[in-house]
Symmetry: C2
């Protein structure tokens, strides 16, 4: 099998100022293409150090991918370092330079000489088109090795990785793919999940690994096979066995989110939803509306952050707040009923609680009530979360989605 | 100055399944302690490869920090690899093994022989206490080099990094700190910012580096000095000069967010805010309420995702929607006025538009209107964003905050 290494370039990465998400994306892509990633390295914007790490990587791996350092500024040194590591000169693509000049002229941006560095390439390189920026990527093939260089800005990097780079890597692959499938589980803790599937976790191919996330457990099933189809054939019986062990707690696979799963159930039933939020401040609505097409089932909501807003806009009774407070089961239930009526939906979901950091109405940080109304039937649950403000808010939206999903599943198709 | 390298161990990192946040945290810690991090490497759970990367790092750097691979399972090989790289044997700390046995017995967990691997250490190592797990860290000092090994689980890693490891690193530091300050700029593109501060960007100590983020530009000012106080003395005049060049566009420093800056202005003026959202689906409200104490100025909002909700709940005129559509300046203005009235606030902010992916009312994906109402005065702006759904939504909340901030600044203290 072909081997690869990834080299991320940027002093901001070495200083810990930015998180290297690109390198994780390329690592996934390599695995998808059946190329074994054996090392990832990060170096700063220093020509000698970039050259050194490239020379070392080229000794060990068939494919070396670099991220960053392709821009026009003096800090952008990856292009030069690749040429050095391959013992080549940089050559200027004058046709491309002319295009850059046109591009800048059309935008009325004055030309500075450094921009033309982006039209340079190591002699063995071809450009990889960058539709979202001025710095093209590079692909060098020399002495059986391949070097692929990509720019760092996310909007440029992502489409290049998903498009031309995937194609180059797929062509290189040697007849084996590493294929993973993620089973997403909600409403159960990690140890509970492990207890139920422990007997399925001893295999090597396919293998199962659990990962805990806030309010979810992900089981990663991985198989190696000649093709993705063959890998799927290995994964399917394992997938099936896990679903039998966990039942409806498996809510989605791969990148599908809990909010998407809930919206799909709503859509299948032709039902609608509105949400009333206090401590989550719109976070539940925002999660739901990340899903394209969410407007099919999600009509909207009210963020009743002040008590005024709970009574005057949402229509919670002032007596309820006076008697039980905003952080109460009674308030949550009334919020859920009211939002359902105001938006004329099938379901109303409400979240109220104390996101912290301080006590509120004498109630501790992390105490949260979630109510789900369907018709006249309102169910409420309470939770006491630990952790900071963002943890409490995230877990609260998660619990609301889990509760709503259970109501949807129990209310039949 | 002392140099360091970080080695992350874990096949899940090489497969891109988990993001290496620990390594960024250690990188920051090194910078804080004035130790220059020159390289970060990631290798899988493979003894020979971990040993190889450790031997290489030890040739280049004074300090090598490892993350992961200290647990009891067969995959946990960092302990063994460090011993190999240092040409040492592993020795068993029998006192610590006895403690582990007690710990497991007290919890009724059966002892398996592999657990005792956690009581092993390279001969030159001392244990670093791990109050939240069974695998201790390691600190080896040999021939002028220091190797520090930390376990991977977040709840164990973080307190060890912040506590004993920081102390070890501070003791190693050579009387120099690298101190950074981030100036956050909004309402200006990166090239506009660069044009205004280009004359300030040539220094080496202190230095300035710009980073573009959606709707913001961050300028990182970095200084090296004997103490943090001395570094601040180098940064202050540069900070001042940049603020003079950019004016009010500098909205915050370091980790302070735009939403926090806006809420602070509101608080200083004793004014209140409510928001009406369509395409952002609660994302603006959610951003505002991430800030602790946001309830001082933020009263709440309405997510009017369906047109029904715009008319029936928010009170936009049906004629407005019929004549101009929901994606229109007219609708945005009415939403802003209505939300201000409903919530009885000083400011009302509204966002409506098409988040994509498809055209809506014949209007393109990415077309967004943002209105800010104060009293009877409503101002509206329109934008045509490129990019995917999440980009459009993020940029829209950003533009709403920028617009609101301008209104706040222009309306005086």
């Amino acid at each position: 099998m072909k081997t690869a290494e990834i080299v991320s370039v940027g002093t901001e990465l070495l200083l810990g100022q930015t998180l290297d998400t690109h390198s994780a994306k390329l690592a996934k892509l390599l695995a998808d293409c059946g190329i074994v990633c054996q090392r990832r390295s990060t170096v700063g914007d220093n020509l000698a150090r970039i050259e050194a790490v490239l020379r070392e990587s080229l000794l060990r791996a068939d494919v070396v991918l670099t991220i960053g350092g392709l821009g026009p500024t003096m800090d952008d040194l990856t292009r030069d370092a690749i040429a050095l590591a391959l013992d080549e000169n940089l050559v200027l693509e004058s046709g491309f330079e002319a295009k850059l000049r046109e591009y800048f002229a059309a935008r009325g941006v004055p030309w500075v000489e450094s921009i033309s560095r982006q039209a340079q390439r190591p002699a063995s390189a071809v450009f990889i088109d960058n539709p979202n920026g001025t710095a093209p990527g590079l692909c060098c093939r020399k002495a059986g090795k391949v070097v692929i260089a990509l720019p760092g800005p996310r909007g440029e990097f992502n489409p290049m990785a998903d498009g031309p780079v995937r194609i180059i890597l797929e062509e290189l692959q040697s007849g084996t793919v590493i294929h993973s499938r993620l089973l997403r589980v909600c409403g159960m803790g990690e140890s509970q999940v492990e207890a139920k599937v422990a007997h399925l976790m001893h295999g090597d191919n396919p293998s199962v690994a659990p990962y805990a996330h806030p309010g979810e457990v992900h089981l990663r099933l991985t198989a190696r096979a000649a093709t993705r189809g063959d890998a799927d054939l290995l994964l399917n019986p394992l997938d099936q066995a896990i679903r039998e062990a966990l039942g409806a707690a498996v809510f989605a696979i791969d990148d599908a989110t809990l909010e998407a799963a809930v919206l799909q159930l709503l859509g299948e039933r032709g039902q609608t939803l509105a949400v009333a939020e206090s401590l989550t401040g719109g976070g539940l609505a925002a999660r739901l509306t990340t899903v394209p097409g969410s407007s099919k089932g999600f009509k909207g909501g009210i963020v009743s952050y002040w008590n005024d807003a709970k009574t005057d806009v949402l229509g919670v009774k002032a007596e309820t707040l006076a008697q039980f407070g905003a952080v109460s089961a009674e308030c949550a239930k009334e919020m859920a009923s009211r939002i359902r009526l105001l938006f004329a939906t099938d379901f109303g979901v409400a979240l109220t609680g104390n996101a912290g950091p301080d006590a509120l109405e004498g109630k501790p940080s992390g105490l949260v009530y979630c109510a789900v109304a369907k018709g006249d039937n309102v169910e409420v649950a309470s939770f006491q979360w630990r952790g900071g403000r963002e943890d409490v808010r995230l877990r609260s939206t998660q619990m609301a989605l889990v509760q709503l999903r259970e109501r949807l599943l129990n209310s039949g198709a």
